[in-house]
């Protein structure tokens, strides 16, 4: 049984000592603690730090999307303004105008996020659904446009830079080495994740789920749905700001793109990929976000296109994201039926890789034609040399793609049949137990 879901299946009249939950949180702390011991390079420590930042941002975003049913297109406003306020605070500290330990600078970001959510949120949360989405888009554009107008605050093209090694070191911590920043971020990540999880267990957190499911009915059990959305929005803004503040310390530079629509879209995309219906989904999303932005973007210039394809694929075949795939398979495994699906999974994976290889060959050749024809007509791809002027390369790519797709579709149908049989069996089993 999962311990981290937005709609818990098990709740008790008084709280019991929940072993599973303690194990989960202890493991989480250990992972945060030991990760830089396992991945020791500078790049990986920087990536781990960014993952912490992204996890907080995606979880705060999911407070709106997954828990409140609010589709925001402007979450970067709150992470980004948090970043700006934090970096300005860092500058004031180094000027000596402000006395604040660097460890607390992320809180400045959090308070900024909270303040702007308080300010913009009242209008934003007046309505749910499409109107909400439109207003977040509006505020996103507004703040991004302002970032170009007020270069004093936003730093114009160059952005705002600061030095995080300011103030007196506490216990010898200067925040010079990346690993010290990592541990600062790890502490904030652990506390923020714990607090956001705790939020799902409060009356406000639960009523937020009710507002997501059926706002009209909530009005008839005594709650003002706008207030519920507004309070959740403010809390999400606070954690978004924390994430932004940490990013300011990590990078020591903040540029206008952090409040921009692309960043907002990224939060939406990766929260969705990770899975909005489970609490831990956005944690997966945050990790993927950093992997995609840092590693994947190094592999190919067409990485955004691949990302788009994966997103489309997920929306079509697994709208609950990776988290729901995991949870559904955990349930099957709990009933000892996972083995029956293993064959299908192997075929589906191979077919997906085949499709990806075919599509990849075509995409790389098209990119090559568009951007680097001067470099000749040969493209290196998976150890093969493709030629953009030879029909064989194109046909080959297309054939691999189509064969992969055909195998995938065939395997998927077989899989769906087996899957639905297993699900029916499990449902019947549950019913039998209920009636017993």
């Amino acid at each position: 049984m999962s311990t981290i879901t937005t709609t818990p299946a098990t709740t008790t009249t008084a709280r019991r000592f929940n072993v599973g939950r303690w194990v989960t949180w202890t493991l989480f702390a250990i992972v945060l603690l030991l990760a830089p011991k396992v991945f020791t390079s500078n790049l990986s420590i920087s990536m781990l730090a960014q993952m912490g930042i992204a996890i907080i941002a995606c979880l705060s975003y999911n407070m709106l999307l997954g828990q409140g049913g609010m589709l925001s297109f402007g979450h970067a406003v709150y992470t980004g303004l948090g970043s700006y306020m934090a970096i300005h605070a860092l500058l004031r500290v180094s000027e000596g105008a402000l006395s604040l330990p660097v460890s607390l600078v992320p809180l400045v970001g959090g308070l900024a996020g909270l303040f702007f959510a308080l300010l913009f949120g009242y209008v934003t949360t007046k309505k749910a659904g499409t109107t909400f989405a439109m207003i977040t888009l509006g505020f996103g554009e507004l703040v991004f446009a302002m970032s170009l107008m007020f270069s004093e605050f936003f730093g114009g093209e160059a952005g705002v830079t600061a030095d995080r090694m300011v103030g007196d070191p506490v216990f010898g911590i200067t925040y010079g080495p990346g690993v010290q920043v990592y541990y600062l971020i790890a502490v904030y990540t652990f506390v923020s994740v714990a607090l956001m999880f705790a939020f799902t267990r409060t009356p406000l957190g639960r009523i937020l789920n009710a507002v997501r499911d059926n706002p009209e009915r909530v009005e008839f059990i005594g709650y003002n749905t706008q207030m519920v959305r507004y309070f959740a929005f403010i809390i999400a803004g606070f954690f978004a700001g924390i994430s932004g503040g940490l990013a300011a310390i990590q990078f020591e530079i903040v540029t206008a793109e952090v409040v921009g629509p692309i960043r907002s879209g990224g939060y939406l995309l990766f929260t969705f990929l990770g899975g909005a219906t489970f609490f831990f989904g956005p944690i997966i999303g945050g990790v993927l976000m950093v992997l995609a932005f840092v590693l994947f973007s190094e592999l190919t210039r067409a990485w955004l296109l691949y990302l788009g394809l994966i997103f489309l694929f997920m929306v079509m075949y697994a709208p609950g994201g990776i988290a729901s795939l995991i949870m559904m398979n955990m349930r099957v495994a709990a009933y000892g039926r996972l083995r029956e699906l293993a064959g299908s999974y192997i075929v589906l994976t191979l077919a997906s890789l085949l499709m990806l290889a075919g599509a990849g060959a075509l995409i790389e050749m098209i990119y090559h034609l568009q951007l680097s024809t001067a470099m000749g007509d040969s493209v290196k791809f998976l150890g093969l040399t493709l030629h953009t002027r030879e029909a064989l390369s194109w046909i080959g790519g297309l054939v691999v793609l189509l064969v992969g797709w055909g195998v995938f579709e065939g395997a998927r149908r077989g899989f769906m049949r087996r899957w639905s049989v297993i699900q029916t069996d499990i449902e019947n089993d549950i019913k039998r137990r209920e009636n017993a």
Binding site: T12, P203, N224
Partner: protein, 287 residues
Amino acid sequence: MSTDQTTHAPASRTPEAVHYDESMSHIHAGGYALELRQLRKSFGKTEIIRGIDLAVRSGERVAIIGPNGAGKSTLFNLISGRFAPTSGDVLLGGQRINGKRPFEINRMGLSRSFQITNIFPKLSVFENLRCSVLWSLGYKYALFRFLADLRDANDRAEQLMQMIRLDKKRDVLAMNLTYAEQRALEIGITIAGGAGVILLDEPTAGMSKSETSRFIELIREVTVGKTLLTVEHDMGVVFGLADKIAVVVYGEVLAFDTPEAVRANAKVQEAYLGSVLADGQAASAGH
């Protein structure tokens, strides 16, 4: 921490009792639990409710009957704050509530159910009910308390679950319940906050005969001591359950009286009841 139900039971009564006292106090203030004065509602040029006067005493059970399109559901929407009336007044325990928002009216002690099932599909039965008791127990938008620690809310939700006979379905998501179970949950959500005035909009709609009679028993049980208004089509139910019947035809109250008097009313016979009434008499004779 032990979770012995019986030891907590008396503790859970206290906030509930306090709540009933509150809602009763303003019911006695105006003499009537619910009063409608010259209530009117137009949509565009069409007047749906055309000057309704109705006064319901505390503890009375009133059935509202009338042909389709007579404005019964609209009337409920006006009383519960879903729509604002075009003119006229709605008084709850002597206080004017017209123009107030649904949640304000609910907080003043009026709760309603819906003709089309209106529950929280992705929450469990228990969560549906616990959400519905939170406001009345004073938890509001609480952020610094854990739900699991709210003993009174949890006990009240458990108690409601037994009242509507869904205690075996505690952790089932509401969307996975059978239709009849969802209708019971709808009633549970409606009575959860302990409101003194309850409006039920066709509570037995879509149910079979046997389900209906069991369900009416349940409604009678859970609304003991409350003021009840219900829209109902099944005449057996109407004559079995109601102390008084209001006949609404074309947005006006044609008659408002005891079942016997309404049955004998010539105007009602002529306008609406003729054939339906015969069925009703047959049905109630069968009881």
